[in-house]
Symmetry: C2
Subunit: 307 residues, 2 copies
């Protein structure tokens, strides 16, 4: 049990403190919010913390990521060993991810990527329409992100299949633990997986070859999920129609990378879903209260599983 007032560090080189701090202060009026790490910090809120941050901490009760993906924190040799790490699953980010997935699925389904090419050539030509019920969207990952995307895709009439490590039951979703079986029914493949040694490279030539012809790949997870060379092969031989890539290895995507100008690839700068301070702060405050009451924080990372 902590004293009623806890000391909370906000440490991020990427998240804007001016957006977060007023909301945190309002949600946690009794607590001390600091920007400089020291031995007396109880809870550290981090997203790409400045180098050396962890070494300056003592033994906080919790490190709370401001992001959902924590593979970089898990690989950080300065991370204070044994301190519980929570990832952030918050409704604004989940909704944002589904918006991005729907935008890309619809862009492919309704051929807008082809119509943009036609616009550049001033070409007026109708492409045959398909119904959402003719298409199956295959989701890699059926956790918080996958299940929200599934529900909204089903609401538009798409068939939805999903793959997860453990069997999952989501009403209306064809659920698989066998990846090959899911890929065989998939037109649009969406990667929402955490990056772990098991999931790295899952978007590869073998996977693409098992998908239905004319589909698309949407990677909104991590760059290392994709074998870029294999993707370019499947696009260039016409098996895949288009790819939507938001994440890369490394980031930012180097200026001379061929992905920037490949006609079959839509590139975005890791913006598929940003943490939304307005909806994230209540979740963080909830975890602070749990720590204050001596309870287990929500969304603790399983270090073995890697997420």
């Amino acid at each position: 049990m902590l004293p009623s007032c806890v000391k909370i560090l906000f440490a991020s080189q990427t998240e804007k403190a001016e957006l977060w701090l007023p909301l945190l202060r309002r949600a946690l009026p009794e607590d001390e919010l600091v920007a400089v790490p020291d031995k007396s910090v109880d809870i550290a809120l981090v997203a790409t913390p400045p180098a050396g941050t962890f070494q300056k901490l003592g033994r906080p009760k919790l490190v709370q990521s401001l992001w959902m993906g924590v593979e970089k924190l898990l690989a950080d040799p300065t991370y204070p060993r044994g301190v519980p790490l929570a990832r952030l699953i918050e409704p604004g980010m989940v909704a944002a991810m589904t918006e991005t997935v729907l935008a890309h699925v619809l862009d492919w389904h309704r051929h807008f990527y082809q119509y943009r090419a036609q616009q550049r050539e001033r070409s007026w030509k109708r492409i045959d329409q398909r119904m959402a019920s003719d298409r199956t969207v295959g989701l890699l990952g059926l956790g918080e992100l996958g299940s929200d995307a599934a529900r909204k895709l089903l609401g538009l009439g798409f068939n939805v299949a999903g793959w997860s490590r453990r069997p999952r039951t989501i009403p209306g979703v064809q659920s698989f633990t066998d990846l090959t079986a899911m890929l065989r029914v998939t037109d649009a493949l969406v990667c929402l997986l955490p990056l772990t040694p098991q999931t790295a490279g899952v978007l590869n030539a073998r996977s693409f070859a098992m998908m239905r012809r004319g589909g698309c790949v949407i990677n909104v997870a991590r760059g290392a999920h994709l074998v870029t060379r294999d993707l370019l092969g499947a696009l260039d031989n016409g098996w895949l129609a288009h790819a939507y890539l938001d994440v890369f290895e490394p980031e930012p995507l180097p200026r001379d990378d061929q992905l920037w100008q490949h006609p079959g690839v839509t590139v975005t700068p890791h913006i598929a879903a940003l943490t939304e301070p307005r909806t994230a702060v209540p979740k963080i405050a909830e975890n602070v209260e749990r720590v204050r009451r001596g309870e287990t924080p929500a969304n603790l990372v399983d270090v073995q599983a890697g997420y």
Copy 2:
């Protein structure tokens, strides 16, 4: 009352007979389907019929459009005066229209039109994210199309406002009969109206000026709804962020039209929602049965109202 077997003409220069005829034959196995007009046709199914089609007919019981928009048939001087005209409202086309509206709203909402410009310049730069609940989509038209779009936009968390001639109540939708009042709360303006003398030119400088700054205009209705010069003014002075135009006056959009290459405009070749034979044929068969039983067909056009 007609004899139990009726003679049905299929006459279209744009719809593919090879897709429609097998479905129509299966749905109406007792009836005679013909491709050449003559005096004994009971029901004419039309979408851009070949010139002279109407003069060769006698006095059919019904002209059934294969499309939702009928302004060209109403303006056709050869249309057989007094013969009831039905427009086609079918679930596949309604779903397709909502898919297109969602695709464009999401493209604007999540700044994908800006990220495409960045991709061309190999620029890696995050744009601040907004939540769907920060945005209001204003629908012009709250009939079958507007209400389906409204329901699915609400499901994604957008605020939805709608304007219609007669007051409409749709759960969750801010409904207006005063256009100015709707525009004042609108970020993304979607035109789904039938083209009538009252609705022509509704997308004009005055309308754009009343919208919130930074919004977009989506015209998926008819080209004559838009005053193109006014749109270009509102894009060029930065009031509007982007426009998605599917319909033009005339069509096809001439090759030398400036819209093709305007960076603020996405052009598509009138493909927002195509009639879907698989879902349309049951609706058409239903109207054939109504005529056969001497009942009033569904979705008859009110010639005065123009739709």
